[in-house]
């Protein structure tokens, strides 16, 4: 019953929808620190826009967007952004993730927290997007031995 043919209508619809979902995801990430939203929600939306293309276009089309092997490094980069931001605050004498102590933002404490959270959100968003795509990729690939 399973038919392996591409449907141009579904692909076109997904291609039409996907950029707007991605744009909304970016909006949610970058406005997450002073309105409802944030890294996880935005990252999920980014992943949704990528997975939409993967579901409708199949492997050939999705390979043009984000390669399968690129997800692990992206997730690692996302976590490293989070980790280094926290560690930078620790290195200058504050607690882990204490944004007021961040060395590279010389501003009032309130604004330092504002920008510090934004950096964290970007890292989280990247990691969440990459990991959700990675889960999907690994699940369709299945086990490589029986």
């Amino acid at each position: 019953m399973r038919r392996q043919e591409e449907s141009p209508i579904i692909l076109l619809g997904s291609r039409l929808l996907s950029p707007y979902i991605m744009l909304f995801g970016l909006y949610v990430i970058f406005f997450g620190h002073y309105s409802p939203g944030g890294g996880f929600q935005g990252g999920t939306l980014l992943a949704a826009s990528i997975l939409l293309i993967r579901l409708s276009g199949g492997r050939r089309v999705s390979r043009l967007q984000i390669q399968e092997f690129a997800t692990t490094p992206l997730a690692v980069i996302g976590v490293i952004i989070y980790f280094l931001t926290g560690l930078a605050a620790m290195a200058t004498g504050g607690y882990f993730l204490d944004y007021e102590q961040l060395p590279f933002l010389a501003m009032e404490p309130g604004y330092m927290r504002y920008w510090g959270i934004l950096i964290i959100e970007v890292g989280i968003g990247l990691a969440v997007m990459a990991i959700l795509v990675m889960i999907y990729d690994n699940m369709i690939k299945g086990e490589d031995y029986a």
Partner: protein, 122 residues
């Protein structure tokens, strides 16, 4: 008595949902249905947390220039929502692991029926 039932209606929904989830976990033979029951069970606790944070005539906990910060009654308690965001993340990860395991089981045994699997393993 009626007030007790109507006044806590959100909690009754939570209890019903929790019972549905527990029924799925305990009595369904198909492992996918068990996983769905597990998801329903988790969602019921999420709904419980969200319902304890509800407040009439209150706004989102982002500072509004029309309402002063001292008027605590006008802002929602954001903590349960934040906690549940994390719990939802945990739920997503659990479902991901569960379905990956199910695919591994199906690849190895060709069935997802609990009884058949138990017989096969013995």
């Amino acid at each position: 008595m009626l007030d007790f039932f109507l006044g806590h209606y959100a909690y009754w929904f939570v209890i019903i949902l929790m019972c549905v989830g527990l029924y799925g976990i305990l009595f369904k033979k198909n492992l996918v249905k068990k996983t769905i029951g597990l998801a329903i069970f988790q969602v019921s606790v999420v709904l419980y947390f969200v319902s304890i944070a509800s407040k009439w005539d209150a706004t989102v906990p982002v500072r509004d220039s029309n309402i002063s910060v001292e008027q605590v009654a006008n802002y929602l308690n954001p903590l349960p929502h934040t906690l549940m965001l994390t719990a939802i993340v945990v739920g997503v990860a659990t479902l991901g692991v569960a379905f990956t395991l199910l695919m591994a089981i199906y690849n190895r045994y060709g069935t997802l029926d609990e009884q058949e699997l138990l017989e096969e393993i013995q």
